[in-house]
């Protein structure tokens, strides 16, 4: 009691301590749920009011892999995510180019229309998508689920790429031409390296969005197209929280690998440079 009061007084006197406390609370807010999942996924007999699991085990992971057929599900998830990336990128490159490099009338309006799917409550939007898919036999196909994901992935890819293309300095392309490079070689040696970070960013963004997408998948999946987020959700319904936790952890791994790859491969200062002057 007196300790708590002392601490409170100290906070009132020192701003630094206040900030540190807030930061700590914030970190706890983010990490505690995560920590709970990790503990749950490796704990046995962790019930009631126990602070820590009494016994550690990797059984739940074995269960997750064997019982829920996780290899197949991961394959589904990856195939769908890669299809979504491919389609979004193919759509977003020309669209982003047009929006970023040409003076298109009503450009702002177009941009906001692109974001419309995100304004509608996801479940309502997913419902609409599902109804179309039932009529067009796209339910329970990889391409169908991926297409549903594209409806939210592509707008973001377009936004990222139009900003990337807009930032591409026309004068560099002209300089390349004067140096003797034809349009194709200008693309290879100048345009491509300069837009690469933006294209990668857009691909990574669409990948993670699709990989983690739940609502749209839930409304369009079938027995052959179960994805990790949906399977995790189903596992909750089956009552195995430990297995669900293990699956959640497995779900995170690819995201971490992607993040790690970005850090290693894409040294930012190698890809983007600045000018002095104009």
């Amino acid at each position: 009691m007196t300790l708590a009061r002392k601490y409170l007084n100290a906070i009132l006197r020192s701003r630094k301590l206040l900030i540190q406390t807030l930061l700590l609370c914030f970190a706890l807010m983010i990490f505690t749920p995560f920590l709970m999942i990790v503990l749950r996924s490796v704990g046995r007999g962790w019930f009631g009011r126990l602070w820590l699991p009494p016994e550690l085990t990797l059984d739940w992971y074995r269960w997750a892999v064997e019982v829920t057929n996780i290899v197949e599900i991961t394959k589904n998830t990856l195939v769908i995510a890669l299809l979504a990336v491919l389609m979004s990128t193919v759509i977003a490159i020309p669209t982003g180019w047009a929006l970023g490099r040409r003076n298109i009338p009503g450009r702002e309006l177009l941009m906001s229309i692109l974001l419309l799917p995100r304004m509608i409550p996801p479940i309502a939007f997913a419902l609409g998508v599902a109804q179309i898919f039932y009529r067009t036999d796209l339910i329970n196909t990889h391409i169908g689920v991926a297409l549903a994901h594209v409806s939210i992935c592509a707008p973001f890819a377009i936004l990222i790429l139009s900003a990337t293309f807009e930032a591409l300095d026309e004068r560099l392309l002209e300089a390349s031409g004067v140096c003797g490079a034809n349009p194709i070689r200008t693309f290879i040696h100048v345009v491509f390296p300069l837009i690469l970070p933006g294209v990668l960013a857009s691909m990574i963004f669409t990948f993670t969005t699709s990989y983690n997408e739940f609502t749209l998948t839930l409304m369009t999946y079938g027995k052959d197209t179960v994805t990790l987020p949906v399977r995790t959700y189903l596992a909750i319904g089956e009552g195995y929280w430990e297995v669900t936790s293990a699956m959640s952890i497995l779900l995170i791994i690819p995201s971490i690998i992607v993040l790690f790859m970005i850090q290693r491969q894409v040294a930012p200062e190698k890809l983007v440079g600045g000018f002095k002057g104009v």
Binding site: R171, G177, G180, R185, K270, K276, G277
Partner: protein, 358 residues
Amino acid sequence: MPDYMIELRDVTKRYGDLVANDNVTLQIRRGELMTLLGPSGCGKTTALRCITGHNIPDEGRVFIDGEDVTDVPTYKRELGMVFQSFALFPHMTVFGNVEFPLMIRRMNKAERREWVMDALRMIRMEEYEDHYPRQISGGQQQRVGLARALVYRPKVLLLDEPLSNLDAKLREEMRFEIRDLIDRLGITAVYVTHDQAEALALSDRVAVRNAGHIEQVGMPDEIYDLPQTRFVADFIGLSEFLAGTLSAVHTEERTATVAVDGLEIHVPATPEMAPGRKVLFFIRPNDIELLPASQESGINVFVGVVEKKTYLGDRSDYRVRVSEGLELRVQTDGKVRFEEGENVKVHLPIPHCRVIVE
């Protein structure tokens, strides 16, 4: 061999309703440095882009080295160009930037390295080969731009306001560096600028531009001493013109007299002069002599009163009233001293008196 390295023949380029170049003809001789001088927006860059091929003229033809290149794409024109914005490739090192034109020309690696290092030595940047453009200063970036433009030994070097993004001191240094390089390489160069001092200091010839057309082409001293239009005179720093009428032409003396506000001023005669024509008379303030009132009268010597004096250190600036409606600006070196209100005589030496027949 053709006489001209670059020739624009009746080139017109429009942007919508705006005529950025209106029937422009310009001939640039082999090995000379020609400057396009003019205020911002007068179409200098547009003219240069017609030479590079970034703009296709709506009318007229463009020739490089005697060959009609109007329909030849930029990358086949074998030009070197330096940009106002430097336009170095940000993802390549200094070495990579300078190597780029050679790489595009598929020169072998060893030879490339030799040529690049030669070019970098030429601009004293060989220690910076591994730096990225953003790691070096603006002046250094522009020198790299110069090396990139020159490394493959093009026939023609084009420079579009290459110094206007640099600070004043560096600008003056680099002016001479560029001139020196061009002299050493004997290359034909077209230099675009809005800075008249830069143009006069650098060029073999200057083309003064005004809103879509060329007003006058000539050597720097011709432009400076014998501007042929009011615009040119104005642009190269003459601000005061006196409107007058030609009263007589003296064929023998090769002079003419101009009546300006009651004064009869003698000027050198030119063929198009005829009595009665309206003219603009001007003389540079530092070409006027200020003499004590005791001085004898003579041709172009007028009585006046010092109205205002401004001391400028090495010079003094006077306003001298010579008649009811006429005040002349006179600049003298520091040694000549007159006071405000003092009676003086002003002498307008005939060779310095200029007239533009309207």
